[in-house]
């Protein structure tokens, strides 16, 4: 049996000593489209960043396809939040998508013609090829998101982490993105997508991870999307946990 795309064991993450994620255990089976939902401050972005090793963790470990994540980063693709970069940066759409090839290229190597072809192919998939030589400023929110998706596609990974790819996009882009995600899943990729909108979460994803500083529920959408778990995720019963977190910060 091949190792799962993502295995997280007892992961705890803290910012300035204040824990924001407690003891997360997670095993994601291959070929699934997984939505990560939860209220603001639930640690959704933190979870995927920590899973990729972008944040220091207090305890626990993360394995990607059976290896520590740092060793297997080439099999991981990433779509950061759109707001995390400066869209006035002097680069073209093509330059950004080519960045998806950098991980495979390694140090000191320039993108080859094959990399340019791949980048063009990915831009075409998100219908942004006509914009390839434009500077990234003046793109609409939906277009910016498509560029980030094209960059992730260019990574040719097996496991994808996407941080709110649907935020601030128009309806056409939203349905184009979801079609693309389904296409990736059909190709055997595993996708973890941070999502903000509960009503659509039910329709978009195979599995849901309900998160509020810890894993409230994880399983097939039809099993976990019910009143009780949502109440647990979004309801007020977690005040104790956040109070303790605050106490840890003050006294720790």
């Amino acid at each position: 049996m091949s190792p799962p795309p993502l295995e997280i064991h007892d992961l705890t993450v803290a910012y300035h000593k204040k824990p924001v994620l407690w003891g997360v255990d997670l095993v994601v089976p291959p070929g699934k489209l997984v939505g990560i939902v939860g209220p603001n401050g639930a640690g959704k972005s933190t979870l995927i960043k920590a899973a990729m090793g972008l944040l220091p963790v207090s305890s626990g470990w993360v394995k990607v396809f059976g290896e520590p994540v740092a060793k297997n980063l080439r099999r991981v693709g990433y779509v950061p939040q759109r707001e995390s970069v400066d869209w006035d940066f002097p680069v073209s759409v093509m330059d950004v998508v080519l960045m998806g090839r950098y991980g495979k290229l390694g140090l000191l190597k320039r993108p080859t013609k094959a990399d340019h072809d791949k980048a063009r192919e990915c831009l075409d998939k998100v219908k942004m090829l006509p914009y390839a030589n434009r500077q990234i400023s003046n793109l609409s929110g939906g277009q910016q998101q498509r560029v980030f998706l094209a960059r992730a596609l260019a990574q040719e990974s097996d496991l994808y982490f996407m941080d709110e790819p649907f935020s601030g996009v128009d309806a056409a882009t939203e349905s184009a993105i979801i079609a693309l995600l389904h296409e990736l899943r059909a190709a055997g990729k595993t996708l973890l997508v941070v999502h903000h909108d509960l009503p659509t979460a039910r329709n978009y994803f195979d599995m849901l991870l309900l998160l509020n500083m810890r894993v409230v529920a994880f399983g097939p959408t039809e099993e976990v999307f019910n009143y009780e778990t949502l109440q647990k995720t979004y309801g007020g019963r977690l005040t104790i946990l956040s109070e303790v977190a605050e106490a840890v910060r003050v006294k720790g």
Partner: protein, 490 residues
Amino acid sequence: MNSRTNRTTVRLLYLLSSLLYLLFTTPAHAARIGDLSETSLWDQALRFLTFQDPSVRYALLGSMLLGISCGLLGSFLVVRKMALVGDALSHAVLPGVALGFLWNMSKDPVAIFIGATLAGLLGTAVVNLLKQTTPLKEDTALGLVLASFFAVGICLVTMIQRLPTGNKSGIDKFLFGQAAAIGAADVQLMAVVTGLVVVVIALFYKEFLVTSFDAGFARAVGLPVQAFHYGLMLLLAFAVVIALQAVGVVLVSAMLITPAAAAYLLTDRMHRMLLLAAVFGMAAGALGAFLSFLGNNLPTGPFMVLAATAVFAAAFLFGPRHGIVARWWRQRSRAARIQRENTLKAIYHVLEARNFQGEGVSFSELAERRRETEEEIQVQAAALARHELATLPGEADALFLTPAGWQTACAIVRNHRLWELYLTHTAQIAPDHVHEDAEKIEHVLGEDMVRELERRLNYATKDPHGKVIPGVPVMLETKPEATPGYGRSA
């Protein structure tokens, strides 16, 4: 091994004792700026431009080298929004310069280079420490470090000048820069550092690009983002230090920021920005060295910075995309186009009012329609004629539309009426509210948008006020001699 440690100990003791000595000496006179005797402006220019004097060659070469390295590294500071870091770093190196000087009481470039680099890195480390251990934000930490390190530096420099040998030291040149003080050894060091900067940026261009643009993504593809950040800081410290002698501590950050900022206004690709910034930095360096030489070795730094600022001002004023002249010109031509289109629309309305009978439209009809004087109409008619949208046959005080003019008039009226219809139908806005909006939108609707509107409105033919929405006649390649009835009747 042993003798080397001994020598180091001796030097440390020497350094310490000179510091102690400094604390208890009486003030002497500060060094005068400008060591050379007075000569005429013309003689100085000639001396500079013939390059016969080796000190001129060193000054020019050194100034150009520092311009290149500052321009390249400054570009990364600008796109990373770290301009203040350059400022803090450049001020933080001053104590290191003074200590490097005290090491063996001479302007040994290597000792000063090492001292200044260490001080710069210490400053950066303190900024990081403050950021990580306190709730203070980066700008405050930078301000603190900048001021405190600079204060220490000024104290040390002043004390060195009070030493018996101090007032001949030229250490004061490090404050405002003196290109003429650059010697052969300095130029060698500058060449090495600039070469290093160029090679490192060329080799790791894609890594610097992705870590600057999207550090999170860069880490997710496995790049050592921190290492590149510190590498950049180290190169920056090097560049600042080699620039010190010619530009001076106070203004060196301007050589980092100004050429890069000018380049940023002129291009939207990183590699072109790097190239432009390097060229601008080099030009500013050469010009600054020349001007300071003309003025009998005035401080070089201010002249260099002024030269760079002139380049920036030119980019700001005359840049093709962001330049204010270009922007003003674009606004003007847009306003002129809208004026022309409004005149054409008025002509259409006049023709429509008489059921498209007759061809010419007299100025008085138009003046009445637009509620303007005939003189104003004449100006507008002349503008239409210049753009071949209408002809003005002789003294007739009337104008005749060309096919192109007729086409544009139809397009504008169509845009106006389509938009009114769209607002009333789809957006459910009352018909008497839509005119003002359509007056603006009619000038900006593109062909694609018009097709989309027509499709959504089921190719309607009447606007909300019951007026016909004109089709746009196909433009003929060869102009017909006359356009009877404008090819369409109501």
